[in-house]
């Protein structure tokens, strides 16, 4: 074998000297080339940008892109819909030619999605409800994120607070959220504010705990220790080193707490502690539809709101997951 290899090398040598580039004189070719220090340094690969890679990875996920567009269209449409011509007021009871309310009218060109059991236009109520439900969901997600991040970062980063926060967490985490949800909704007056408050009261602690754990994991990582050694203050380390790392996971949690909040609103309405009927919401609509579900020809009143709700929640869920995957540097390849 060794002999064989040796022969191969000899052959290659011969071949190489024949094929030497013709455009330069041998003497030039075999002279020492000028050395460029900058060229030696610049050969490494370093045109990496975190956000550009994140965006590229996200755009790569076609399903998520489609759902994101769909989501934006729905959000936009909830605002555009009332401005369109020939729209009904969501709370207006339409009367028929005989002066009586048009109850449970099947979908038609007049009422795109029919009317509900007291004669209100379902199309108008659906979009108003979607707007309100989204408002609830987004508000809850923002409050949870804000309170949760601040508390979580303090909890994880300031060692003196750890004991206190951990005790609070242990207590709050052991009270079933449903009980708090029901109690708070019951004690306070029904309304948008109550629902948002009740949902945020139980949600922030989960976010705080989550942020705290992430902070703990990376607090003692070498690059943060290095930053501190270089004299960076606590605040700088938090904002420059910790938060960017947490962005992906926080966005994910926020994207997930929106469908969660919308779902909880449906539940609270179901047990009769939700928004009054004058404020349409997906929960209200689904609950009204549920009461009619025994008669198959009226099930459209349940199915339309359910479709919108499912599209919204699934979109948030998938887009949130896709973004979090894209923002994870491990997936930047």
């Amino acid at each position: 074998m060794a002999r064989l290899m040796h022969a191969k090398i000899a052959e290659a040598e011969a071949h190489a000297s024949q094929a030497l580039t013709q455009d330069l004189e041998e003497s030039v070719l075999f002279s020492v080339a000028p050395f460029d220090e900058r060229a030696a340094e610049s050969t490494g690969e370093s045109n990496y940008s975190y956000w550009r890679s994140t965006l590229r990875a996200f755009r790569h996920n076609r399903l998520a892109m489609i759902l994101l567009c769909l989501m934006l269209l729905i959000v936009l449409f909830t605002f555009i819909q009332p401005l369109l011509p020939n729209q009904y007021d969501p709370n207006l009871v339409t009367n028929g030619s005989n002066g009586l309310p048009l109850k449970n009218k099947q979908p038609s060109s007049e009422h795109l999605m029919g009317t509900n059991s007291i004669g209100q236009d379902l199309w108008a109520r659906l979009w108003a409800g979607t707007r309100n439900s989204l408002f609830i969901g987004i508000s809850v997600a923002l409050i949870e994120a804000l309170v949760g991040i601040v508390m979580g970062v303090l909890w994880g980063y300031v060692r003196q607070l750890d004991f206190l926060f951990t005790e609070i967490y242990n207590v709050l985490d052991n009270i079933p959220t449903t009980i708090i949800l029901i109690l708070v909704s019951f004690i306070l007056k029904p309304g948008m504010g109550t629902i948002i408050f009740a949902l945020s009261v139980t949600g922030w602690i989960g976010m705080a705990r989550f942020v705290r754990n992430q902070v703990l994991i990376i607090r003692d990582r070498d690059y943060n220790v290095a930053s501190r050694c270089l004299g960076a203050g606590t605040w700088r380390v938090i904002t420059r080193n910790l938060l960017p790392y947490l962005v992906s996971v926080i966005m994910l949690r926020m994207a997930l707490s929106i469908p969660g909040a919308i779902g909880s609103e449906v539940f609270i309405t179901y047990i009769g502690l939700g928004l009054p009927a004058s404020i349409p919401s997906l929960g209200n609509l689904i609950n009204e539809g549920r009461k009619l579900m025994m008669s198959p020809n009226l099930r459209y009143q349940l199915i339309y709101p359910t479709i919108i709700l499912s599209v919204v929640t699934v979109s948030f869920y998938i887009v949130g997951n896709a973004f979090s995957d894209a923002a994870d540097p491990k997936n930047h390849m």
């Binding site: 052991n174 449903t178 029901i182 109690l183 004690i187 047990i271 359910t306 929640t313 699934v314």
Partner: protein
């Protein structure tokens, strides 16, 4: 170990007391008119008398102390409204087995389906089965349970030709509630098991097992599964107990006479003793679940000991 357990138990009891106190105070914030069915017609004196009878005219602290005093003697109080003057324990007693039975069935179902599903999804990552499974998980996780339960009820009853309501004497009416309750857990177990197994499969010890000459199935079942199961184990008892104690929503949808449906009812009717008792039950379940979860972790993972938590991983 005994010392550790004693400490843990003491902490759990303290946690429970704090929870009960918070709920106790919250409950006392409910409007007074809710306690009297004919509030408008009552004179101020009658109301005061009524409150006195309930012991609610005393300072909050005194009420709280006597509540804990009674609790110490095993006295959970007497229902005033749900069923007038019947001890709470007597009301709850027969309801617990109903919820437990449903819960155990649905839990078995979710384990039997969820765990193999997660394992298979991890084993054939990015394959057809993984995609279908992920689609299922996304639907169950994203669409609120409050919504898909309804559809299971509507179309399931049509499909199986069973009654919409639960009937203890007809076991087939249990199918839909059990399946509904299981769906969430199936998705949850499958999702986390898959995720943990995929995480584990990138670890160095899996590489060594592969280098050793282990086949993929052996690696999945003999090496990865147990490692992936450990982080899940911590939450298993909690999820178990929560399932067993019943789903508020499902029990009221199918009119199942269990624990779950009761809570909403008694809160709306302001039956304080009942609320207190149910909260105690739920919170105990949570605390016990955490304790069991930690014990299970110690049992499964030799790196974690009672004396020092964590260990090096």
């Amino acid at each position: 170990m005994a010392k550790y357990l004693a400490k843990r138990l003491l902490r759990s009891v303290l946690t429970l007391m704090v929870i009960l106190s918070i709920v106790f105070v919250l409950v006392r914030q409910m409007p007074i008119d809710g306690y009297f069915p004919n509030f408008e017609k009552l004179s101020e004196e009658q109301i005061q008398n009524g409150l006195h009878q309930m012991g609610m005219d005393r300072p909050l602290i005194a009420q709280l102390l006597s509540f804990f005093g009674d609790l110490l003697h095993g006295n959970l109080g007497i229902s005033r409204i749900y069923r007038t003057n019947v001890p709470v324990t007597e009301i709850l007693g027969p309801k617990i087995p109903v919820s437990v039975r449903l819960g155990v069935f649905s839990l078995l179902l979710s384990m039997i389906v969820g765990l193999p599903m997660g394992t298979m999804m991890a084993r054939h990552k990015n394959g057809l089965f993984d995609h279908i499974g992920t689609g299922f998980i996304v639907l169950i996780e994203a669409v609120p349970a409050a919504v898909y339960y309804l559809f299971i009820q509507i179309y399931g009853t049509d499909l199986l030709h069973v009654s919409m309501l639960y009937d203890a004497s007809r076991p087939e009416t249990m199918i839909l509630p059990v399946v509904s309750m299981a769906l969430g857990n199936i998705a949850y177990y499958a999702m986390w098991l898959r995720r943990y197994m995929v995480d584990e499969s990138n670890k160095d010890y899996v590489m060594l097992a592969r280098i050793k000459g282990c086949g993929e199935n052996r690696i999945m079942f003999r090496h990865i599964f147990r490692n992936a199961f450990v982080p899940m184990a911590q939450y298993l008892p909690t999820s178990f107990l929560n399932t067993v104690i019943g789903s508020i929503y499902i029990e009221s949808l199918y009119s199942i006479p269990g624990m779950g449906g009761l809570l909403v009812d008694v809160i709306k009717r302001q039956d304080n003793a009942m609320i207190q008792a149910i909260v105690l039950l739920y919170a105990s379940v949570g605390v016990i679940g955490l304790l069991l979860g930690d014990l299970l972790m110690v049992f499964l993972d030799p790196r974690i000991s009672f004396s020092k938590k964590g260990g090096d991983r």
